[in-house]
Symmetry: C2
Subunit: 158 residues, 2 copies
């Protein structure tokens, strides 16, 4: 089944190259940036300013291949792509939870971006701990990498 | 910019009607179910079984219109759609964090589904608190609805 979406905006960040980027939004290397919502959709931003954090879903537009098993940034073993956050997914949709600083018209000012400049935005959802947080969590192979993502940057592998 | 995705599997749940569904996965009304991954993609499931919770991204295939402002289930005022989790979004992508119970071949057994039977799956990501949880969170208009989603069910509004 083919599904067609349309970008609702563009993410602007200081990252112009897939290498040397932060690999997760909370990393030391992540950066403030802006999100431009296209005027057709700006009415949907009403009330969003009351939320401190938002979930961004975006199209990983520079990803041109799919790998079902990959060696992720924080590991040295091949892992199933669905057990990783790596970008070479069958449907390259990125997900980041970022702090929302302010909204001016159709421009969102956010922090902790780990997203390439010019990335097409698919959706924004409010981050709600009651819906999105879980306790008693096991994180499989990532257990041994705990804490490393904060300082890690990408290389050329994807 | 048009973006085309392809479903990688199908979500099977006891919910056959958009009305009377749980409105969030952790609700009292949510249900166990299965996720069938199409054989072409099953190699990507390697190592996923080590994670207790997974993030499902899916296509809200029964949503046929877009509303930029809507009255959400937990409220009586019109809100911008991006400040809600309502389905009538410009790009109808659903997001649920659910417990993964076991994997048998290309079938995932999960709990706490709030998803319509037959929903096309777009992506699975491991839920990693270090990446996905945030503290000191403000939740805007939802503040007064805190705790209500657990018992709420949908009606016919979407």
């Amino acid at each position: 089944m083919e599904i067609t979406f349309r970008s609702i905006g563009t993410i602007h960040s200081p990252f112009h190259d897939l290498a040397d980027m932060p690999i997760q939004p909370y990393g030391e290397a992540s950066s403030p940036g802006t999100i431009e919502i296209y005027p057709d959709y700006s009415a949907g931003l009403k009330d969003l300013g009351g939320f401190s954090h938002i979930i961004l879903l975006y199209y990983l537009h520079k990803v041109s291949s799919v790998q079902l098993t990959i060696i992720p940034f924080l590991d040295s073993e091949p892992r199933g792509v669905f057990a990783t956050r790596a970008p070479l997914r069958p449907n390259p949709i990125g997900l980041s939870v970022v702090p929302l600083q302010k909204i001016e018209g159709n421009i969102l000012f956010v922090d902790q971006l780990d997203v390439l400049d010019g990335t097409p935005l698919l959706d924004i959802k409010p981050y709600v701990p009651e819906f999105d947080e879980r306790t008693e969590v096991r994180i499989g192979w990532l257990e041994h990498a705990r804490g490393k993502a904060r300082f890690a940057r990408s290389d050329n592998r994807f």
